[in-house]
Symmetry: C2
Subunit: 482 residues, 2 copies
């Protein structure tokens, strides 16, 4: 058996949360900084496999809600970006620009898409003629570039992978319905697949998408209490319709601008996943998104016949796969302890150890990723019971995340209490706000907390702004954020 380099240490969260995050990514072999390409990263196979699981689940949900995938050009004429006033203001500072191609200087530069409202608006104007062509429900899986000054793997990188939905409707009512529907799809995905509870809400005007009338979002709480915006859905109104002349003939024969939405989630979700569940031993994955759900490790000693264990391991792997459990039987030439460590850091939910003595007893040893003890389980009906256990683990992770969010959420009425609560901690705080950008900016400057959203479906709870005492219709969610 060969010598192995000793695995590197993961910095504990209590010591340095930011280093812990990067250590989990490195040791889980999820990604690494590209370095030679500023602000970009390489998504390694284990990270990309999680992204593929996210994609598959979301894509199914998009198709079930009537959307079709398409693909639009990566490069967008610079003039397109300038057609919608707020849009250009919001995105100009972040653009990567292609000025030369095919050995020549281009007459008009292209920007690398930071998002595709403009180029898709252009094509919608060619495809949409009458109310019969509506709604147009398109989604695109793509890479985008936003040249960020401060980057952090998965959370904010200059290039990232995402999906962007773009839809056009005959009425504002319908487009609003769509924007809300897709927000709900994201929230359901976050809870049911990522085991990550989220708050659904509306962004303030200062935090909305550049070019939208209104932006909806889902906000999740990370383990350090900070908020992470995990998905957004925008009511674009007729802004891009006017900018790109996307009109249709309504049933009465009149020409109108379409009402549009756009919505997206990105590889940022992997960052959210890490910071919701992982621990000081490395990655922890909810079973539904784990590329490998169970790993089987043979326990072999020198001088014994390895065949029975290998045969049993392979038979077990097949029976788990038949039950729909993604399973690896790790027969590599490494010591068991090394394998335990590696798979633990990769977040595999369940480890099975199988050796000659286990076989005699018709059992295996089970170690759950976040469980403290190994437990003997009978081989009988093992696949079915493991499948059930994986479901229970998924539910327990959501429950634990919900509990953490509840415990770290406060309702505060005075600004002094707010500042006090924000000292040395990062709670979610529901407080009253007078609706002004000034108050929002003041709180941000003084506490680094921002209004994450104006929650949807909030109970009727009028009050007075904690800062100015002016009237407020409902509490809004304040938090520090990523």
């Amino acid at each position: 058996m060969a010598e192995q380099a000793s695995p590197e240490r993961i910095t504990p969260r209590s010591e340095d949360y930011s280093r812990w995050y990067h250590d989990v990514i490195r040791q889980g072999k999820l990604a690494e900084p590209a370095e030679v390409v500023k602000g970009c990263m390489v998504i390694r196979p284990h990270g990309y496999a999680i992204w593929e699981k996210i994609q598959r689940a979301l894509d199914d949900m998009f198709k079930a809600t009537g959307h079709q995938n398409a693909y639009f050009p990566l490069l967008i004429p610079e003039s397109f970006i300038k057609k919608e006033a707020e849009h250009v203001e919001g995105f100009s500072p972040e653009l990567a620009v292609v000025t030369h191609a095919g050995g020549k200087k281009l007459e008009e530069p292209y920007v690398v898409r930071p998002t595709s409202e403009t180029i898709i608006g252009h094509f919608f104007s060619r495809w949409i003629e009458s109310w019969r062509d509506l709604p147009m429900l398109i989604n695109q899986w793509a890479n985008v570039i936003r040249w960020e000054l401060r980057t952090r793997m998965f959370l904010r990188t200059s290039e990232f992978l995402w999906q962007e939905g773009h839809t056009a409707h005959a009425t504002h009512e319908e487009s609003m319905e769509e924007a809300r529907r897709m927000l709900d799809v994201y929230a359901i995905f976050a809870e049911e697949w990522m085991a990550m509870p989220v708050i659904r809400g509306v962004k303030t005007q200062s935090e909305k998408f550049a070019g939208a009338l209104q932006s909806f979002c889902i906000e999740a709480m990370m383990q350090d209490g900070k908020a992470l915006q995990a998905g957004t859905s925008h009511d674009l109104g007729q802004n891009f319709g006017r900018a790109f002349d996307v009109t249709f003939q309504n049933k009465a024969g009149e020409t109108e601008y379409v009402w549009q939405t756009s919505w997206g989630v990105s590889t940022r979700l992997i960052g959210a996943l890490i910071m919701t569940h992982s621990d000081d031993s490395g990655l922890v994955l909810p079973p539904r998104l784990a590329p490998v759900q169970v790993v089987i490790i043979p326990i072999l000693r020198k001088g014994i016949d390895e065949t029975p264990v290998k045969d049993a391991g392979e038979a077990l792997r097949k029976s788990l796969e038949a039950e729909g459990i993604s399973t690896v039987f790790d027969q590599r030439d490494y010591k068991p302890g090394y394998k335990y460590f590696e798979w633990e850091q990769k977040g595999v939910p369940i480890r099975i150890e199988i050796g000659p003595r286990d076989l005699e007893a018709q059992q295996v040893m089970i170690k759950e990723r976040t469980g403290s003890d190994k437990v003997a389980w009978s081989l009988e009906d093992l696949a079915v019971r493991l499948k059930q256990r994986l479901g229970e683990m998924q539910d327990a992770m959501l429950e634990a995340a919900r509990k953490r969010m509840a415990e770290n959420t406060l309702y505060v009425d005075s600004y002094d209490a707010f500042k006090e609560a924000m000292t040395d901690k990062n709670p979610f705080i529901y407080a009253h706000w007078d609706g002004s950008a000034e108050t929002e900016a003041k709180v941000k400057e003084e506490t680094q907390a921002t209004i994450r959203c104006i929650p949807l479906n909030a109970a009727d709870d009028p009050g007075m702004c904690m800062v100015t005492g002016r009237p407020s219709a409902q509490r809004v969610l304040f938090a520090r954020n990523y």
Copy 2:
């Protein structure tokens, strides 16, 4: 029922083959030229759905052969491209260059990846240390840009979607095995999924990938007789290993450069699909790659109760889906004839018509996309029989394509006969060649035919070059090409 614009005409192949190709794409709603982005196209939902089916099938085959997906940066430092001498010479004229980002001029420009050997080589050098890390088997699904002067939708566009496999091995023998294995994967995919027979072979030195020792390819025959390179697999030797210092410690403890391969297929396959099977009525799709395999069209007349037909149509759709057949029950408010036309142009393999009289007789009318007559089929066991029929249609399409290729393939021994055969026609010609670049260039200049490949697994058949009379070990494949 509303008025519809009459669908546009598809130019017959005999009239103008190139216009026919573009008409099929337009009428099938597969794609359209982007125009505002030079040489680029938009892949519309029906075209993208075909790409998704291609992706899914190939991705499964890649994973079954041990490959993992990953994602590398879109932007590549310009200096990277220059590290491999042949590579830079081959790709320089086609590069799109990002010179500005985040509002500033970049110190070193980035090129938008035309292919990723260089950036992946850089990361391989960080990831690979010992023979234990080999083979490294990576695949990437991505967009690339090659600024082409003359473009044609799907076949050659400035931006296209593809997969690029990149692998590193301990020995040349292993990397050659990999290159051949992936060529076989492509050939099997082409035949079993696309119903498109291909010739496997080696490129001549003048046609090989810039930076490879040797390029393997699959070549298919389009309906006009021209060849289309449908996939390539490259033996990169140690060229990129040396350029990016990708070394490993072998079992003897010595440091060696790795042996690499790369291999790719692209959205060009959709062009190949169109030109292999489609006809003057529009797109024809092999059932295994058809996003919609069966469309059910209700035949309703005014004044009758529509419920029984709608219920029967929906029940039928469900029974077909349960059998694994992708089915659309088209209840849109259009006349049946309009729907027939539209689905025909979209290449749906089987159309089912169901009306009140059919229901009485417990039957439906079946029209196959390339069949001339409607035939009544009993409702009994319909799903099972349709599934079988789709399989037969798939086989028949491959058979027809094979027959066409055989009928249009010649064995020629004299250059006069070769030129004669190339007059007004585009056959595949197997002829002897002396192995020189001069002869290859002369034939190309005089006949526009190129050596598509030196076929693999060719029977032992030495002879004399048809042009120079010099000795030749085997016949090579000449054809005009896309």
